[in-house]
């Protein structure tokens, strides 16, 4: 009798571990575990006020970028251009910062949106898979960025550097998150995006303008990256050819760490953005503080990434990423 009870509770535990509820909780558990582990390994240094402020300062612009990419990945698509978009948009922001700050913000957003539109156009019109298109445009705009910064780093005006205040960056980030959350949760945009991710043909036959939805997702993601470029310029002050380097993989890893199934679709959660970005930043800082070389850091990040993809992927929806 007791044995049976034990078996019963054991199978309940197993069922729970395989359930969607657990998969939904996993990122939160992961965040707590990573913070605790890092805090122990760095002997409590990571949770000091000074460190936390530094940590936070690294969170803003990736979180803004991740919000846009979140919509693209919900579609079941992927975007590799954030790094190069951020680079090019940062250059535009720096140039325009000498004329007017609002102009710089708008210019950054428009530059990003234009790159997003280009990606979306090729993806939708020519029915190319998004990872093919965005890998191509990634090289293209990395090239543009390198070309513009060959001679010297591009400086931004002192007016824009003076804006490097936490409250401003927090406000921008929180606003982006709130607006995106509202659109995702309370308008048909969220439903449409998830429907395309879960079954594009059926979504089209249910009246979703699938091509338009996909195109707009890329434009918005580009625009948000452009806005993130403004936040980036505020912080760094001058732009070199490596601006935004590897940002795309950072965002991808963050979202997956946050529990976003790489296949997109109905099982995405908005919290994936926040949890994932925080997790990545803590992890990254912890590894640096523990004194690992950058090669070792990459190795460790790679392993953690692999484990998370394997744990969170929605096997029922398994197919090639669009």
């Amino acid at each position: 009798m007791e044995k049976k009870n034990q078996e019963n509770s054991q199978s309940k535990v197993l069922a729970f571990l395989g359930s969607d509820t657990f998969k939904g909780l996993l990122p939160f558990i992961g965040l707590v575990v990573i913070v605790v582990v890092m805090n122990i390994l760095t002997e409590g240094k990571i949770l000091t006020a000074k460190r936390l402020r530094l940590l936070l300062s690294q969170v803003y612009y990736p979180m803004i970028v991740a919000t846009g990419v979140f919509f693209i990945m919900t579609l079941g698509s992927i975007d590799f251009t954030e790094g190069s978009t951020l680079g090019v948009a940062s250059i535009v922001v720096s140039w325009l910062s000498f004329y007017s700050i609002p102009l710089a913000i708008v210019g950054g957003i428009l530059t990003g949106a234009a790159i997003g539109a280009l990606n979306g156009f090729f993806h939708v019109k020519f029915k190319l898979q998004s990872f093919i298109v965005t890998i191509c445009t990634m090289y293209l705009f990395r090239g543009v960025c390198a070309y513009l910064t060959t001679e010297t780093a591009i400086p931004a005006s002192n007016t824009i550097k003076a804006l490097d205040q936490d409250w401003l960056k927090i406000t921008i980030t929180v606003c982006v998150l709130l607006v995106a959350f509202f659109l995702f949760k309370f308008t048909r945009i969220g439903n449409d995006v998830k429907a395309v991710g879960s079954g594009e043909t059926a979504a089209r036959f249910s009246g979703v303008r699938t091509d338009m939805v996909k195109f707009l997702a890329f434009v918005c993601a580009g625009g948000l990256t452009g806005l993130a470029a403004f936040v980036n310029v505020i912080k760094v002050g001058s732009i070199t050819s490596t601006a935004g380097n590897q940002l795309e993989t950072q965002i991808l890893i963050s979202l997956v760490l946050g529990g976003l199934p790489i296949t997109g679709g109905a099982k995405v959660r908005f919290s994936n953005i926040v949890v994932g970005t925080l997790m990545y930043t803590v992890l990254n800082n912890g590894l640096v503080m523990m004194g690992f070389e950058s090669a070792t850091q990459q190795l460790i990040k790679g392993i953690i990434f692999l484990i998370f993809v394997a744990l969170t992927i929605d096997r029922k929806a398994l197919k090639v990423i669009k």
């Binding site: 309370f186 308008t187 048909r188 439903n191 449409d192 998830k194 429907a195 991710g197 879960s198 079954g199 043909t201 059926a202 979504a203 089209r204 036959f205 249910s206 009246g207 979703v208 303008r209 679709g265 109905a266 099982k267 929605d314 029922k316 929806a317």
Partner: protein, 499 residues
């Protein structure tokens, strides 16, 4: 009395999560027997046979074939043990030649020192195809050049050339036209004549009665009974499947009801290159207009064209108020609904919840100033899914968990919720059991009574005869015949216009 028993299944069991798909099923099949296996959707017949042929692992119990217990881990091992299956959906692989498909998993005889001898493989495949009488199929060509039906025929060759002891035919006939079906029946008879056996799974009870020796009935995963075919009628089988008496009202019984003169939809010289040519017809208020023909006659494309879903359509589709339907969003906005034959890909969003499937076309109507309320969506989905008597835990359950019949109910719930006045239903009862079929026919009757119009595209002739006010028969992409509803209209009348 024990005839020569070929297959013995003992206490076969399978669970998927909380669903008990097959519950302790035992049966025996004699050598030289064609055994029908019937049951409603979700009764476990496919799961049972897929365990036998290695697609699913066996949850519990044993299969004994010819006195030897089977330990099968995949389909190739099943083939080697003498079990093969022809499945319901596409069972051939794109990107390979016909010959490569036929010998998939059994390439060894054609491989010498690690190099494949394609010429020999093609020759052997062609010899088999000719032997079966499918001479129009070329073994060396890519399989993608052949249509669904020819690919099914190729699959039949693939499943039967090695002379399996047990051949499982799982709902294959729904994909085949009359000719293809006859070929399949011939092969089944041949298997029986050789003293081997067939397990024949079908929803078409007429076909089951005509071509089997005995029939096993499953219900909710449990074994119900095995009967001799010659002792039973279609009604007996239905009763055993459902577990209660099916009412006599299956199809409509009214004849001679006048149809309104009001034209709600006018289709004028619609052409989709390679599919349909110069199609013109009018749909009246409260009319059920049937479309019939062979599976490749273009009738399925007509449904898409009316719904604005064809890419390169010419001609016009206009509503009573003059609105031209040229895109899916326009169609939906103006009260046209569409349920596709390809339910899992085109009708339902398979990896979504029931709720999100039901509300999708109605989101604009449900929003207040573009804002959606979760409560409103939930109650909307619940109302319409419940009206269709969908078997579900709640509306947040994922639709992929539902059986075919319940998925179709969700599709219909979606359009009922939208309040569409013109419904294009392509193969509305395809692969659906009698109980749900009955519910769908009853619903069509109700909708008709409310003055809604239905275009019903169907490959099942009895359904066309039983439900339509008017039937258009298509052949090679054009309309080839028109019949008004009549009691003395026969299947032969329609078939004569199809071929």
């Amino acid at each position: 009395m024990e005839k020569n028993i070929l297959l013995r299944a003992e206490h076969i069991d399978k669970k998927f999560g909380i669903t008990h798909a097959v519950n302790n099923v035992s049966l025996t099949i004699a050598a030289g027997e064609i055994r029908g296996l019937i049951g409603e959707n979700g009764s476990g017949k496919s799961t049972f046979s897929q365990m036998l042929c290695g697609i699913y692992t066996i949850g519990g119990g044993t299969f004994t074939l010819d006195g030897k217990e089977l330990h099968i881990r995949n389909q190739v091992e099943a083939n080697n043990a003498g079990v093969s299956i022809i499945v319901q959906e596409m069972g051939t692989l794109s990107g390979l030649t016909v010959a490569e498909n036929i010998f998939l998993g059994h390439e060894d005889p054609f491989v010498h020192h690690g190099i494949k001898d394609s010429r020999k493989m093609n020759q052997e495949a062609q010899r088999l195809l000719n032997e079966y009488g499918f001479t129009s199929i070329q073994a060396s060509k890519m399989i993608d050049q052949y249509n669904f039906e020819d690919r099914k025929l190729i699959e039949i060759v693939k499943a039967t050339y090695m002379k399996p002891k047990i051949l499982i035919v799982d709902e294959t006939t729904t994909a085949l036209s009359q000719n293809g079906r006859l070929e399949l029946y011939k092969i089944m008879d041949q298997v029986r004549a050789d003293g081997r056996s067939v397990i024949f799974i079908s929803h078409d009870l007429g076909e089951v009665l005509e071509h089997t020796d005995s029939v096993t009935i499953l219900r909710d995963g449990e074994y119900i009974d095995t009967v001799q075919t010659k002792d039973v009628t279609e009604d007996d089988l239905k009763r055993l499947m459902v577990g209660r008496e099916i009412g006599s009202a299956y199809y409509r019984t009214d004849y001679g009801t006048p149809i309104s003169d009001e034209v709600v939809l006018k289709v004028d010289s619609v052409t989709v290159p390679g599919q349909i040519y110069n199609i013109s017809f009018e749909l009246h208020r409260g009319e059920i207009l049937g479309f019939g023909g062979l599976s490749e006659c273009g009738m399925h494309e007509v449904g898409k064209a009316v719904f604005g879903a064809s890419w390169d359509r010419t001609g016009s589709v206009t509503l009573k108020d003059g609105t031209a339907i040229n895109s899916i969003p326009t169609a939906i906005k103006h009260s046209v609904a569409y349920a596709s034959k390809d339910r899992d890909n085109e009708s339902i969003i398979i990896n979504e919840s029931i709720r999100n499937n039901v509300v999708l076309p109605s989101l604009d109507d449900l929003a207040t100033n573009y804002v959606l309320s979760k409560k409103k969506l939930d109650s909307f989905a619940n109302e319409h899914a419940t009206r269709m008597q969908t078997k579900m835990q709640n509306v947040h359950q994922f639709i992929s968990d539902l059986s075919g019949g319940n998925k179709q109910k969700v599709v219909l719930a979606r359009w009922l919720g939208k309040g569409s006045d013109i419904l294009v239903l392509d193969s509305p009862t395809r692969g659906i059991d009698v109980k749900v079929k009955q519910a769908i026919y009853a619903l069509m009757g109700e909708l008709k009574a409310e003055g809604k119009s239905i275009i019903m595209i169907s490959e099942e002739i009895p359904e066309l005869l039983g439900m339509s006010d008017r039937i258009l028969i298509m052949k090679d992409g054009s309309i080839n015949g028109e019949f008004m509803r009549r009691q003395d209209l026969t299947e032969e009348d329609l078939i004569a216009k199809m071929v």
